[in-house]
Amino acid sequence: MKIGKHTIVFENTPVILSTGSAVGPKEKEGPLSPYFDTTIDDVYFGEKTFEKAESKFMAEAIDLAIKKADMNKNKIDYMFAGDLLNQCISSGYTARNLSIPFFGLYGACSTFAEANILAASFVNAGYSYNSVASASSHFCASERQFRLPLEQGTQMTPNSQWTVTGSGATLIVKADENNIKDYPHISMATPGKVIDLGIKDIANMGAAMMPAAFDTIVTHLEDTKRTPDYYDLIVTGDLGKLGSKLLIDQLKNYGYDISKQHMDCGVKIFDTETQDVGVGGSGCGCSASVFCGYIYPLLKKKQINKVLFIATGALMSPVSLGQGESIPGVAHAFVIENLEV
């Protein structure tokens, strides 16, 4: 059912039965290290190339999600996944080994939310009983696609972000009397518009994506007639320290105070003071691994019960930047809740 301008209500409450997360060495050194299912010391993950490694991270996350739910892989109807690499090769090559029908998605770093919204929609509509949603990124693979070779000796600018190496996957299933009590469900989604306020600096993606996050949050709150207090946590994907600050300030100007509930996955996953990551982490793997490794378990243990999750993406490419285009942002939101008892 649609309410307001752009918000979907999932009346059949698709359930997130399990999640899996796998991350690389830098994330292992970070503050969320104990929460991830798998942490790998080798950026190659035993493979020959970074791209193959990224695929393996996604395969690992999906495998973990399926195993934790004790489900047979054959029972999964569809896979919704995407990544940052050209032609979505990480997801495509992961799907090659899974034999699950595959929808390849691109929403830059918002892909994880996009995948979950689509999987939840399919399950809600009854087109699917069980679906997986996943996203991945790899620091080394995206550096070489979007920026300069790794061995190139250059300085990091103060507002740039560090692409997370890792992946997260959720298993979304049809709700029934038993699972709905014990597992969090996806109750709503607000897909976002593409918004561009003219930022051209590829080393300041947080500022480029912030207006999209602002727009989606405001749309969501207006559509649902809720205030930020309704949520225990309002999570943004990878705005970083600067983008988060701008978002909180601007929302406050508009009349919504989210400073108490707000958390940014990019700020949370690294220690920005000691890890030399600029203003925080980024990449599809950032929001995916933090949601699957950190936020979902909190929901499942019922330490928190209502989460608004907004993954933000910057939809540029080296080609568009070369042609003088600015960086458009997009942000998709979905709500994860526990059934009230």
């Binding site: 070779p149 061995e151 190139q152 000796g153 103060p158 561009d196 306020l197 930022i199 701008l246 508009y254």
Partner: protein, 153 residues
Amino acid sequence: MNYTKMGMNEKEYTEYVESKAEKSSLLKNCIIAFIIGGLICVIGQVITDIAMSYGLEKKLASSVSTISLIFIGALLTTLKLYQVLGKFAGAGSIVPITGFSNSIVSPAIEYKSEGFVLGIGANMFKVAGPVLVYGVCASVVYGLIYYMSKIFF
């Protein structure tokens, strides 16, 4: 579509971001670049002097120095040490010839996974290519001006 509920246009937003964003420390970066860049030049001069003390002419000795610096740059790049230096020194390690060497060797390492021809061969000059193209063009222009000035003066 650039209208948002935030009520800012592109110009206002860009200014707003710039006012909040952390800036690179220009003075500090310049000083570090000056010191490290200078040190690399001193090393070059030492190599030249040593070569001359073995009886090489000045022109030959400076070629020896250039070749040695290129080798050192390439070696440090493959040992993944040049990127550590670059992170600290900034322009100080980009501008000297060691930085030029780094900019050719680093894509060569990176694109090895796509094979010798379409990987290394096609991408090796991805970063240094523009420098070569416009460097050669500039030297042609300079040469022409020099030639003309010889005729007229």
